[in-house]
Symmetry: C2
Subunit: 422 residues, 2 copies
Amino acid sequence: MNEARQYKIGLLGCGNVGRGLVELVNRNRSLIRERAGVDLSFTKILVRNLDRERPAVDRSLLTIQPEKVINNECDIVVELVGGLEPARTFIQEALAHRKHAVTANKALLATDGSSLLQAAASQGVQLGFEAGVCAGIPIVRALQNGLVGNSIQSIAGILNGTCNYILTRMIDGFEFGDALREAQDQGFAEADPSLDIDGHDAAQKLKILSELAFRGNIYPGSVQVRGIRGITAGDVAAAHQLGYAIKHVAIAEMHEQTVSLRVHPTLLPQTHQLASVRDENNAVLIKADAVGEMLFYGKGAGALPSASAVLADIVEIASQKRPEMRVPDRALATEPLDHTGQSYVRFTVERATAIGPIAAALQERGVTFARAANWAKSQFKEKRQISIFTHSCASSTLQSALRQISASGVLRGTTVVMPVAS
Amino acid sequence: MNEARQYKIGLLGCGNVGRGLVELVNRNRSLIRERAGVDLSFTKILVRNLDRERPAVDRSLLTIQPEKVINNECDIVVELVGGLEPARTFIQEALAHRKHAVTANKALLATDGSSLLQAAASQGVQLGFEAGVCAGIPIVRALQNGLVGNSIQSIAGILNGTCNYILTRMIDGFEFGDALREAQDQGFAEADPSLDIDGHDAAQKLKILSELAFRGNIYPGSVQVRGIRGITAGDVAAAHQLGYAIKHVAIAEMHEQTVSLRVHPTLLPQTHQLASVRDENNAVLIKADAVGEMLFYGKGAGALPSASAVLADIVEIASQKRPEMRVPDRALATEPLDHTGQSYVRFTVERATAIGPIAAALQERGVTFARAANWAKSQFKEKRQISIFTHSCASSTLQSALRQISASGVLRGTTVVMPVAS
């Protein structure tokens, strides 16, 4: 067995993930030395407040000056401060100093990923970002290495643990607001949860994965995004009654050189592989020409799962075994997909007779439907709501019917529309 | 973008996986060049019969002389002939010629894996074997790279597609023999299926994964192995009635520096992540200190899924980015685990009154149980069988009761015992 190579980490940020990384390196140092032949240690750690209690972190390493981390004798800079600035500047400076860098910053990767990767390549150093997508699930690696010989056809994932936790609680009967509060109490949702529950976090992850899978740059605005606000326990129950689970799904598909990307709540058959993903877990289903369908499942957030991904990048870079990230600098053509299939639609109405104009508008366009059975009746009494499942139709046809229904004046609130997957 | 590097493959064996590899390299050559910067081609291909029809394979590359493949100007030798000999000699010769090698040969890896890895290391070349375990599922990579910073606690997997296909058909009511014949018709079982259905194939895969995960050599005889012969449609139905699926599960657990390894049919709660794995699919559930539980799921066999794994190894080795396989050359301590928990037991008896001595032997040892309900009655009439679910007890206690029951003379055939997982 060869001797272990000394490898020094400069750490920017010592929040949950940063402390997780320190803990994991300390705990598994000898195991990593044995497996990979590298001996890891920290040089300096950037913090905002020197006095905060951080068990297991050596106080003598702490500094409030970022240049002390970036400019010192470290081999690799790990950025865990989050947000766009100063994180972007930190990484740019590290790369300019010809230091390798590792980040878990998905917002930054989604906006500046390709320019940072090019900066790294032009300096002859590496930028690792496994932790930016689904934490410890090695999905970036799978696309780069394990599936390197495959042409990827589609990606479908549950990429946001907060949404999935809330939707799981709603299966147990919680209303959206109560489920969100429980997620916040459990630490699975931020005080301001909008990035998660409005779908933007999942859209960022989908963009990063799609750029790797389909090899090119994707304009951020080309992801169709809908979040989970507005879904009620009644919707979840109506779906359940017919054998479906409502899940917040991110989908990217390649059709003839064009990628379509969307993130929205979807009714999945309970036998679908993503339907059984519970609580704060993530899952990614890849469809590729050689392997067929392949699922990766695990914790998509958390201090130690994220630290595990950061550490995998550090070790690969340290042992000089990280594959180059070759993503061509070209724009991928994208287009929204005109979903054709079944849909779930919930109307809020004044009177039960509203079903007349609703049915008329649909039938005029050849769209047949079934009403969501028993649930709809009690729901109608309390909440003046009517839920239907349409049979397969183009979403443009459905949208045209919905415009006519809206114009007929029978609606009294928002209409919720969700595709039903087969 | 750097120029692509020419990389030449010598291929030993052109059966299903070999032809799949040729097809995949031809189809995705430009994609691989773009992603990884290597340009793959074949130099020579060893076959047994030059005249056999092989669409898409260039006949001018074929040879029946192995030395023409191994000794020529190729950069890497891919062994897909299978079996212990001459595959072992082929790989040893390739390594002796300082060629990298890739193999999908799990039987050879299970018997000679560590000596071949050491031979490769001493020659300064690489030996790739991702395809040896679960085909295209990148589980070897996950243990080497993605989870490199984790201490692995356990591995639980459905590692044999044939067993899982048969057990899935039995849920639909097929008897074992009919399910096996269907698996053979579908190409999911060999004419001689014993390697699969008696559990040895899964045991080999478990041994290979465990040596990577727990870092050391495992004596092959230390895997407790039971196959799926003897399970009846009645057992599957009785389990289903109480919310369980019978699955053939491979489990390796680390307890205080000692590994226990076993492969056997198990009753899994239908909510268990491995319970929903259907048909010929494989799944591996890893439990590790940082990431918690992580599941990898996909096709565990087949020409293209296996070729995908072979190709991933070739590309990593070609781009000089394959992590060294550092498995220390030390023996891991192993011990059988005295399972404590519920068990399913089916007795074949002469008369219904046999329940008396059975109950007495169990109750004497404090083992309480429930009879498998309605099913058991009709089953008893036709087949003189009694099925019970014991409450939690040590397997040694249960075995002692079973010996007493056997000695009492009330049994008329084999007794089937399966652990029930919680």
